[in-house]
Symmetry: C2
Subunit: 142 residues, 2 copies
């Protein structure tokens, strides 16, 4: 990855903090925090594993309400979060551990009124974690 | 989705054009075009279905070389592409049809030296296409 500028290094903390707030809202079943986290001034995308993409803010929040209120809501924690900056947007790549299963997630945040807010969440099953290893061609062709 | 500004509407064409160039490079097995498409000045993420995340430009290009040179490379086309702007970055959401199977893909592009170049590609199996339908809580909890 290209080196980070000082400004980017300074902003990594706030972006990772927003990413932690997302997983804390998930873990604590805190729908108010989840709602505040999603951006309001940009188009959104949320892709739960195996499901169609949700794009309207109301349907994204409805989906989270369903998950957070369910008695079967899974246990989750996030590992190995790292940030890549694209101007006023930032991609966080991380591993979600859900009931012992690993998912790889990309969370895209955008700077909105002084805060980093979520614009995209996509989680997908993965065979392994992000620990450094030899580059290899995927066995599944695309 | 919030309304698009005129500037964003004007830029949708170039972003969708970059997205088409990605699928054209895939379809035509054009490794040169694929290499030119990926950004150079920002950190990258590429997640092939079911696989670990690739983050170094060299390993991402190696993975595409493996896919494009394989005799089993799948047939692909992209449907229902739509753009969301986050300043100098843009998220394209689309459906990939691969050998009759639907994947949902998010492709994030960044403005680099006057061109829109790819910073993130993530494709994941999906049960259905993006055709408008009633919001519904995912059956899989997260």
């Amino acid at each position: 990855m290209p080196g980070k500028s000082k400004a980017e290094a300074d902003e990594s903390g706030p972006v990772l903090s927003a990413n932690r707030a997302f997983y804390r809202a998930f873990r604590d079943r805190d729908m108010g925090a989840m709602e505040r986290l999603w951006a309001e001034a940009v188009g959104l995308v949320c892709i739960h594993p195996g499901w169609e993409a949700l794009t309207r803010r109301a349907e994204i929040l409805d989906s989270w309400r369903g998950i957070l209120e369910s008695p079967n809501a899974p246990q989750i924690h996030c590992e190995e979060a790292s940030v890549r900056f694209l101007g006023d947007a930032a991609i966080v790549l991380c591993i979600e551990m859900i009931d012992g299963r690993a998912l790889v997630a990309t969370n895209v945040f955008v700077r909105e009124k002084g805060s980093w807010r979520m614009a995209l969440h996509q989680a997908t099953p993965t065979a392994r974690t992000l620990a450094p290893r030899k580059a290899e061609t995927p066995k599944t062709l695309h």
